[in-house]
Amino acid sequence: MADTEKIIEIEVLRYRPEQDKEPVWQTYKVPFTDDMSVLQGVQYIKDYLDETVSFRWSCRMAICGSCGMMIDDKPKLSCKTFLRDYYPGKLRVEALKHLPIERDLIVDATDFMKKLESIKPYIIPKEERTLAQGEYLQTPQQRDMYEQFSSCINCMLCYAACPQYGLNPKFTGPGILALMHRYNADSRDGGQAERNELGYADEGYWGCTAVGYCSEVCPKGVDPANAINQNKMNSAINYFTRFITPGGADK
């Protein structure tokens, strides 16, 4: 085994607030096998080379959304990206762009979490039903309206991809707007009016300039650019018809 072992160089962007004034690159030589992910490479560094390297991870199978990082300048889940694809070259890993670095590869997700809460990411029932009335029924067609948008794992790769969020952090951003659409588009939900006050603002759908990189980097096949574009249409229709629709005008 040892004689077939390959070695790859991993450059890690380090930032230890107690000692680094600004982030610095540090290179590690990591032995790897073809089945090893970038996450496993970074774990190797922590286990055998440098225990001070900090990063988030949990599931190792692209469902928890913890291990997102910039890998050669592209936002990726490190558990879903393989070292072999970079060999014989080296690779660079750094914290997700556009978010403040807390330490090494760990970003501060406070802004994201605050925004996530602000859109009421839960079903607000259209009509209250008692237990005796039974469940809220939905046809497969109605489910198809939102299903792909419900696959979001909050990994924030789309935030690292979005140039608009990078320019103006007040913009709600792709993932959360897609999630807003997920609830708005659910036939059982009646919370559209509450959520769209944000959606119809500059900080909402209109902060997007349809770059589309968010949809490209999403590891779960969610298409936030599409969600936002659909809602720009809804928002525009509402903008022009609000005065002739009962209850449509601004409060």
Binding site: E197, Y200, E203, T209, A236
Partner: protein, 118 residues
Amino acid sequence: MKRSNEPIFWSLFGAGGMLAALIGPALVFITGIAVPFGLIFKPDTMSYAHMLALSQNWAGKIFILAVIALFLWHAAHRIHILLHDFGVHAVTAVRVLCYGGAFAGTVIAAYTLLMIKA
């Protein structure tokens, strides 16, 4: 949260984009290739008399205005957000230049078309 006024510009952008996609290539082909090279259409299709007749007709006026104005608004919005994406953040100046240009083009086109009497 303040409601965005972006729908005005976005709607003009969207209408222009749709019109451009639907008839833009056909217009380029007809006016730029087919007629000058004498393909398909009669050689005098775009003669002064024919074009004058088109712009004297109300439906013709509306068509010409729509093509000029909506294409301009589409381009204005696209250039505006593209500059933004590329890091030009003089927001007010860029807006005035892009949308002002489209607005001026629209007014000039509308005025000129109205001045063409039957």
